[in-house]
Symmetry: none
């Protein structure tokens, strides 16, 4: 099988998308996730365009990866400056990244109107920049910006630009449909010609955008025409209408076109990876996203469901498990009960049919109010426990109060006081915090750790807020998701209210009650004995 090299541009081009922002630490997590998925090259950004990028490269330099190599991104030297004297190229050379991707001009219109560089000087800029990076021991991906516009304008010059990069030692030439203007037949024809002219000496790559809603199809058309590297972003994030969606590209390459893209057996990590990146970006995963969306394999109507039961290929174009997704049979009471019973068994609970029915009713009510249990396993387990009589409250609340105060000097102070009963005794505790949730968490722990010293080991590791019905302004319901961990296990809990503090409180309480439920220790041991989910 022919291998296609996967080049991820999520952290550079993807970050151009509106509202896209990740800290250096979050970017590092994305890099590791993409490495685990099996992406071959990860474009991390320009090593010094701002403090955040510098921090990221410092972090990356200390890491090691299984499948992926890091590419630093820059551009050809400025005009009338020797490559060795160009500060931006020097930054690339000084970076630890073994691969440098540099972008350069191909299109006459840009040479005339944007950068005002003459055609011969542009060729020299390309050749000398690539050659300099090669001399300094870097492998080079050359991104030919606006290649397809250039091709339509002047094939011969577009080819000369590519040849300049190839002759100077570039390993890969990426044909970029920078403004997303092209359709598959145009991409296919131009790519085939380039492969024909230069494909023996270098790898040809494709870099598409989704402006015509053809980003994925364009990328596939290029591979069909001989491109052997595909550039894209996770979930197609990026400027304007986004980059080509690497998730769909990978699935199509492997499942529809017979190419090898990810390491064998890794394709079923696709859904998880796609959702992971969305979560970090605090973007709600698109339920209708091809291959990995919650609805991608959802079946409505009785005929569909019956057909799928008889033979899944009647209505499913691929087996959802291949991409790590699953079938969803909508509005199926029976499937619901089976799921509850299965979940209860996992938690070591005895849930009979009547209790399962009550759980389903309660879940329906709560989901209608904005709860969502997919990421809140602890809250779901507590719900099952309440319906099956195996729930033990940690304490009885008397009251809590949170005060946030901004003083004349501009300083903000926060304190929380809690009053509660545990095992017949009353506890009152006040704590300060750097925000209302922090203070409330501290006060609650302060009040009950004397009774349950164990809770001191439990840490809040993740805290998410999502406004439901955003357009209702400050009147909207708010969903808080909390992840807590004891260092070994991590569990999620949820709270929903129009009041953010109350929603946080609900999630906090669930996160602390969960590990203290009867029989949890046994469950934890059983879980540890099962093979880990990756």
């Amino acid at each position: 099988m022919t291998q296609i090299q996967l080049y991820d541009a999520t952290l550079r081009d993807g970050m151009q998308g509106e509202g896209m922002s990740l800290t250096a630490a979050e970017k590092l997590r994305v890099v590791h996730k993409l490495d685990e998925l099996g992406v071959h090259l990860i474009e991390a950004g320009f090593p010094a365009s701002n403090p955040k990028e510098e921090e990221l490269f410092a972090l990356l330099a200390r890491e090691s990866f299984v499948n992926a190599e890091i590419a630093a991104f820059g551009m050809t030297r400025r005009r009338d400056v020797a490559a060795a004297d160009d500060p931006a190229l020097r930054v690339l050379v000084d970076s630890f990244a073994p691969v440098c991707t540099i972008v350069g001009k191909t299109w006459g219109l840009h040479l005339e109107k944007v950068v005002r560089v003459d055609r011969e000087e542009n060729l020299a800029m390309i050749a000398e920049s690539v050659a300099f990076l090669r001399e300094q021991g870097k492998r080079v991906v050359y991104d030919a910006e606006h290649f397809f516009d250039a091709w339509r304008d002047d094939e011969a010059y577009a080819l000369r630009c590519l040849r300049a990069a190839a002759d100077a030692g570039a390993e890969t030439l990426a044909l970029c449909d920078t403004n997303g203007s092209s359709l598959p037949h145009q991409i296919a024809a131009a790519t085939a010609r380039v492969v024909d002219e230069l494909g023996d000496a270098v790898r040809v790559a494709i870099h598409c955008h989704n402006d015509c809603e053809c980003g994925v199809a364009n990328s596939l058309a290029a591979v069909d025409a001989g491109a052997r590297q595909v550039q894209g972003t996770v979930n197609g994030i990026g400027e304007r209408t986004g980059n080509a969606n690497l998730v769909s590209i990978i699935a199509n390459l492997e499942l529809k076109m017979g190419y090898e893209a990810l390491p064998a057996g890794h394709l079923d990590r696709l859904t998880e990876t796609a959702h992971y990146v969305d979560e970090l970006l605090n973007v709600a995963p698109d339920p209708n996203q091809p291959f990995v969306g919650r609805n991608a394999f959802a079946h409505k109507g009785g005929l569909h469901v019956a057909g799928v039961r008889a033979d899944a290929t009647t209505f499913e174009h691929v087996d959802p498990a291949l991409v790590g997704n699953h079938r969803d049979l909508l509005v199926s009471e029976l499937a619901g009960k089976a799921t509850v019973v299965e979940k209860a068994e996992e938690a070591g609970l005895a849930v009979d049919d009547a209790a399962a029915a009550r759980v389903i009713e309660r879940v329906k009510e709560l989901e209608h109010e904005g709860h969502q249990f997919e990421a809140a396993d602890a809250s779901f387990e507590l719900l099952m426990r309440r319906e099956s009589g195996e729930y033990e409250p940690l304490f009885t609340l008397e009251s809590w109060r949170v005060i946030v105060e901004k003083r004349e000097d501009g300083k903000v102070q926060t304190e929380a006081t809690i009053k509660l009963w545990a095992d017949g005794e009353r506890y009152v505790h006040t704590a300060e915090g750097n925000g209302p949730v922090h203070a409330l968490d501290a006060a609650l722990r302060g009040a009950i750790t004397e009774r349950h010293p164990h809770l001191a080991d439990i840490e809040l590791v993740n805290f998410k807020v999502r406004i439901l019905d955003e357009t209702k302004g400050s009147d909207a319901r708010i969903r808080v998701l909390v992840d807590a961990s004891d260092g070994t296990e991590t569990w999620g809990s949820i709270g929903v209210s129009t009041n953010l503090i109350e929603a946080s409180w609900q999630a906090l309480v669930d996160s602390l009650e969960h590990p203290m439920q009867p029989g949890r220790a046994d469950v934890a041991q059983a879980a540890a004995a099962r093979p880990a989910r990756t």
Copy 2:
């Protein structure tokens, strides 16, 4: 120019999408909007599948349209029943609709596993159903379900099914990629063969889904291969991953492929139509949607902005006005002086080079801390004003305090008190709210509306919370984005802090200070004088 017939399936196939629901009256509004756009055929549903559909057809029967005809949707007769005796076909005949679209089987797998009909009986079902509708004076579109799977399975039988419909008098044969399994090269090859075999006698149509993220490209590939009708839905709504997006298809057919689709001069109604349907469906328009999305022609980097100023074709693949959209310049840490100067001009501010440089420095610092100005135009304008000396504070804060209290009875109460100075006078105000931000907002307004009664007209219309570095738990920085509106204009503001209340406070203050800045009234008038953005 070759004319392509546009067939909209939004009201039938589109309604299969998760959460899609329209009343009969709303569907009627969609029909009129599509008629005004210039769509040729509108599939309204099965005339009697439920009371809502009956009501819709009763409404439609009384209307008249400029460009569109209504198609009623049904299926081939049941097996072993004469077409004239099939109740569902009788309903189609009784409907006022001049066109009937009926779907039938083509794929052996479905005949065997789903409907258990033998191949000859299936051919009879197709032929007799079409013939019956023709005898009753209807024009017929025949939808060949799972056509491309059938084609890969047994070309000869797939062709026989089509020929049965054509020979019986169908006007159009729609090749349906029902499960969205196909890629453009497969669609192109099969369509070309069908056009070659049957294209003289009937019109060949294409009906795609987006399961491989190729719905648009597949539709275009079919047209390229000779299909002369395209079926799709507005914005690609529909079951699973959606139908092919008719909006992008229309734009590509007209602007990229030289076909005639809409009536001359109607293409610039595309953006408005797309958003109109989203509004009725209560779906937020996708900002990244090709051609019609808010970001489809947004420019970020400084070089882009400069290029677009010199010649828009340097970075825009089509003129946004052609599809009724407009250009947008975004502000970000990557932006250059040109953007700042242009944004300042838009706001009616005189920002010189030194001030622009200071603004960029400040933006970089703030973005490093977690600010993000793309969706916070009001905060960005206030920042420019501060650097250029054209800022006027609305008040001087003495202090505020927010108290959230959960009482013994489980009730949660929230109040905020604010103390501030405006024009030399001190104002103190306390307000309750359903959450801490709501209460603080109410207190602030209570304190200053006496001085600025104008502010009572300003409403918070959107409130977003994003936790930066979520893994830091309750220690993380929090970004709050607020949209406010005076009913005419809407503006965005931002706040960042580890304390959610403080972050909300910053955004609230900006949202109220923005409209009160000196010269804002003139700017608003100038904006009103510009052609409206739809």
